[in-house]
């Protein structure tokens, strides 16, 4: 934290590589996170293109099944841990201090470290592709014993990489909690905080609670692989299903870690472009907290077919479907915010409205999956793949893209090219549905997930899905172009940027100066 009374005059302000390596500035670190996230999105996306190319037609065209499994595994891991989570943390770093009137994050040096672990962890993970025996090929859920006894040697590197990713996330989460609790400007009470800050504050608690559980799961894998333990092997008194319980105790809150900040982003954008206050602010906060709380109690709905006792299945079915109540409240609140507003549809609003529509579809398929007897059919099919891509791509990813368009003028001082932004939106919104909607049909017709080749009755919809996939993938290159173009120049953005924008971040100049709120603002 700066103790300077004047502007950064006495700071030595390194440039070039040193600036980025040693930075403790929340804006620099936010930028690093966002670029890292984008690079990972492109790598994970390239893998998705390869997967869709192999699935374009029946028969093995390009890859051996083992490498295909590696592709699906790495695609999942990279998108979850490399693209979505760091993307959200990047937004948090940039925006939370500016939204609560703080000069920086509470723990700036730790902030630097949280970020710089990531490129090393990701490199370690991706390097497994080039190791003897190939990369991890057991799915991003890495179920034992496929990931223990039957896994390639590179699995140990994967385990180490997950540990490093976990450190990074936990430190990031501690930083956010410390910042929100200690650094708010005078008058910024908890119940005045913007919803993006609220959702991240709650998400940070989820991270601290479950990342150690993930670390536990991979550590148990490691000792099962090399130190003679049998946590996940029945032959030594263990249980392979225990792995799934531990994994999903992490994994279910994890899906809310990815979506709650997205809820926050949407709750910022919709009121701005509706020129109307968010409907039901406090119910939004309570709904977020209830979702977070319930997320700890429903993990085994991923495991209805593992042979749980029927009482367990009933409990997890009831608890799971219950989550749809607070989630529905959120959708109703966004709808009510738009109702009788004065709407305009600049690019961020387009992405936000698409989020509300498409996330709702993903939410409903989630409700269907929660109904245990029906899940006996849906489980492990493309229906599940369609569901979680609707909530993660048209949910979390769309929210990140919306946030980038929304705050890019504040970050760069330039307006993005509105015409290109709209092309990017319509191209993505149409192709993403061509990509994922037919996967519902495939799953219901009986196509399992994670297969490199399929029977002929699945051919047609796979081809359509692949075509949509290629179109959606290409659209994101346009996004890269738009962002670079905006950084390099463009119409000067005003301080407020958007006519209906409210909040502290819009009171500072555009681009936001290197240090903001060195003197705390007064919030009334």
């Amino acid at each position: 934290m700066s103790t300077a009374t004047t502007h950064d005059a006495h700071h030595d302000h390194p440039t070039g590589l040193k600036r980025w390596l040693f930075t403790t500035n929340h804006k620099d670190i936010g930028t690093l996170y966002l670029w890292f996230s984008f690079i990972m999105l492109l790598i994970g996306g390239a893998m998705a293109m390869l997967i869709r190319a192999e699935l374009f037609e029946p028969g093995l065209q390009f890859f051996e099944p083992q490498f295909f499994n590696t592709l699906t595994t790495m695609h999942g891991l990279i998108m979850v841990f490399g693209a979505i989570m760091p993307g959200m943390v990047g937004l948090a770093n940039w925006m939370i201090p500016m939204m609560i009137g703080a000069p920086d994050m509470a723990l700036p040096r730790m902030n630097n470290w949280s970020f710089w672990i990531l490129p090393f962890a990701a490199t370690l993970l991706v390097s497994t592709l080039f190791m003897k025996g190939g990369g991890p090929a057991f799915g991003w859920t890495f179920y034992a014993p496929l990931s223990t006894t039957f896994a390639p040697e590179s699995t140990d590197f994967f385990i180490f990489s997950v540990h490093m990713l976990g450190f990074s996330s936990i430190m990031g989460a501690i930083n956010i909690i410390a910042t929100v609790l200690n650094m708010r400007a005078p008058g910024m009470t908890l119940m005045k905080m913007p919803l993006f800050v609220w959702t991240w504050f709650i998400t940070a608690f989820l991270l601290i609670a479950v990342m150690p559980v993930l670390a536990g799961a991979v550590t148990m894998m490691l000792t099962d692989r090399h130190f003679g333990t049998s946590f996940f092997s029945a032959a030594g008194g263990g249980d392979p299903v225990l792995f799934q319980h531990v994994f999903w105790f992490f994994g279910h809150p994890e899906v809310y870690i990815m979506i709650l900040p997205a809820f926050g982003v949407i709750s910022q954008i919709i009121p701005t472009f509706a020129r109307k206050k968010l409907f039901g602010y406090s119910s939004m906060v309570y709904a977020t907290a209830s979702i977070a709380f319930l997320s700890f109690l429903v993990w085994a709905h991923h495991m209805f077919t593992t042979g749980m006792p029927v009482a367990g299945e009933l409990y997890f079915m009831y608890a799971t479907t219950l989550i749809s109540v607070p989630t529905a409240v959120k959708v109703f609140n966004w709808t009510a915010t738009m109702w009788r507003g004065s709407l305009t549809f600049e690019t961020p609003m387009l992405w936000a409205v698409a989020f509300v529509f498409l996330f709702t579809i993903g939410g409903f398929s989630g409700l269907m999956l929660g109904v245990a007897p029906a899940d006996m059919q849906y489980q492990d099919t493309y229906f599940v793949v369609a569901h979680f891509h609707y909530v993660l791509v048209t949910g979390a990813l769309f929210a990140i893209i919306a946030a980038v368009y929304y705050w890019l003028p504040k970050w760069t001082g330039h307006m993005y090219d509105e015409r290109l932004g709209k092309i990017h939106f319509w191209w993505s919104a149409i192709s993403v549905n061509v990509l994922f909607f037919p996967q519902h049909f495939l799953g219901l017709a009986g196509m399992p997930r994670r297969i490199p080749d399929y029977s002929l009755q699945f051919a047609d919809w796979n081809m359509i899905s692949s075509l949509g996939g290629f179109a959606f993938g290409t659209a994101q290159l346009l996004f890269l172009y738009i962002v670079i173009k905006t950084i390099r120049g463009g119409q000067q953005a005003t301080d407020q940027v958007w006519e209906g924008a409210e909040g502290l971040e819009w009171t500072v100049p555009s681009p936001a100066p290197y240090h903001t709120f060195e003197t705390a603002p007064e919030v009334k």
Binding site: G59, L60, Q61, E64, P65, Q66, K132, G133, G134, A137, F138, Y143, P145, T149, F150, E153, S233, D239, K276, K277, F279, G280, S283, T305, G307, V310, E313, L314, M317, Y318, T321, S324, V325, V329, T335, M338, W339, R340, G341, S342, L343, L367, A374, M376, Q377, Q379, D380, F441, L444, A445, G446, P448, R449, R450, Y454, L456, F458, D460, W461, I464
Partner: protein, 376 residues
């Protein structure tokens, strides 16, 4: 006017989709929904699925209608002025309570179906299903019938060197055969990793977990052939271990049981015969291609770091007893299974002879069925 245009546009789009479908040789656009299946349970699961689906569609249409109305009417460009309301406890309570009540309404039929689906008591017969990388084994408990079921689709079809048959990747050498109108209990387990046994027409899937036995049941109403697949990622050939279930009438089933028993006796008798090296090599190649090549690959080259090569390997060119031992008993902690219980003595003798003489491993060794019996 607008509606007419929209309808025409949609028809055009649909036509384009159908044309695209007609352009290739495959089918499948009509496959949009879950199968109602051929058991009571599968019908109930299907009905439940349709019920939740319809509820979701109705709510979706309601919410989307409000959103779309608002998007069209409440635009700034149409002169809309923002209203000032931003909270209402009454409204929040109403739209928390209504979804909750809908959920309770859904939970009732769901609970009933689940309880019926999990009730495996009072079965007429039991079949044990064991998942292996990458095949299924069926044991008819009390009947002494036991066999493996593996993919029957030729390699050339998978590698696009031959035209794909109608049941591409959905055909096996030995289907599981069950009688109709009998409550059959399936005891499901695994020999290596987790698999999941799934025939959609029965209405459920059940994971096969190594070291644990899960159960499920079905009572098939109609004779017929029902196809399914392994649903849990189980390694390299997860996509290549289909399931074919044939339901027969009581009489046909009894005839099938008698056939199986006669076949088993003939195989038993064959295990004492002596074969020539050529016969063993020829038979061994078939067994190798079907069973061993999945991991050790064609030509015995293996996959470096995952599956060891047999070409020039210490085991295949070294001590004969060690080779017999690893094939018969497997290697703990690896993907190498104990084939002593999977293959008969003739197949084992043939494949070991093949491995010791093919791929340039010219050891000249011959292994006879009697050697297998001795090594067991």
């Amino acid at each position: 006017m607008f509606a007419k245009k929209l309808r025409r546009a949609l028809c055009g789009l649909w036509g384009a989709v159908i044309l695209l479908g007609a352009g290739n040789t495959f089918a499948g656009f009509e496959q949009l929904n879950m199968t109602p299946g051929v058991t009571d349970i599968s019908h109930r699961v299907y009905d439940l699925h349709m019920l939740i689906f319809k509820i979701c569609v109705v709510i979706c249409v309601g919410v989307f209608a409000v959103l779309i109305y608002s998007i069209i009417k409440h635009r700034k460009s149409k002169g809309a002025k923002p209203a000032s309301f931003h909270e209402s406890t009454t409204v929040e309570i109403i739209w928390t309570t209504i979804p909750f009540l809908i959920l309770v309404g859904m939970a009732i039929p769901a609970t009933k179906t689940l309880l019926a689906l999990e009730d495996t008591r009072d079965a007429d017969m039991s079949i044990q299903i064991t998942g292996y990388q990458w095949k299924w084994k069926y044991d008819y408990l009390g009947e002494g019938i036991s066999f493996f079921s593996t993919l029957a689709t030729p390699r050339d079809e998978i590698e696009n060197k031959a035209a794909k048959g109608e049941n591409y990747l959905a055909e096996v050498d030995n289907p599981i055969v069950v009688p109709i109108n009998k409550k059959i209990r399936f005891l499901i387990t695994s020999n290596d990793v987790i698999h999941s046994w799934w025939v959609p027409a029965l209405g459920w899937k059940q994971d096969a977990v190594p070291g644990f036995v899960n159960d499920a049941w079905a009572e098939v109403k109609e004779p017929g052939t029902y196809r399914g697949r392994c649903a849990e990622l189980c390694g390299k050939d997860h996509g290549f271990m289909p399931i074919v279930l044939v339901a027969k009438t009581e009489e046909d089933y009894k005839a099938w049981v008698a056939d199986q028993k006669a076949g088993a006796a003939a195989a038993e008798a064959a295990s004492t015969q002596t074969l020539t090296k050529d016969e063993l090599m020829q038979k061994g190649e078939q067994v190798y291609d079907k069973i061993c090549a999945a991991c050790h690959q064609a030509g015995g080259v293996g996959i470096p770091g995952v599956f060891p090569a047999l070409k020039g390997s210490k085991i295949a060119t070294g001590d004969r007893a060690a080779h017999l031992n690893i094939v018969l008993h497997g290697k703990t902690g690896t993907a190498m299974q104990a084939f002593g219980e999977q293959l008969n003595a003739v197949d084992l003798a043939a494949v070991i002879t093949f491995e010791r003489n093919a791929f340039g491993n010219n050891t000249g060794d011959v292994v006879q069925p009697s050697d297998i019996a001795a090594a067991k």
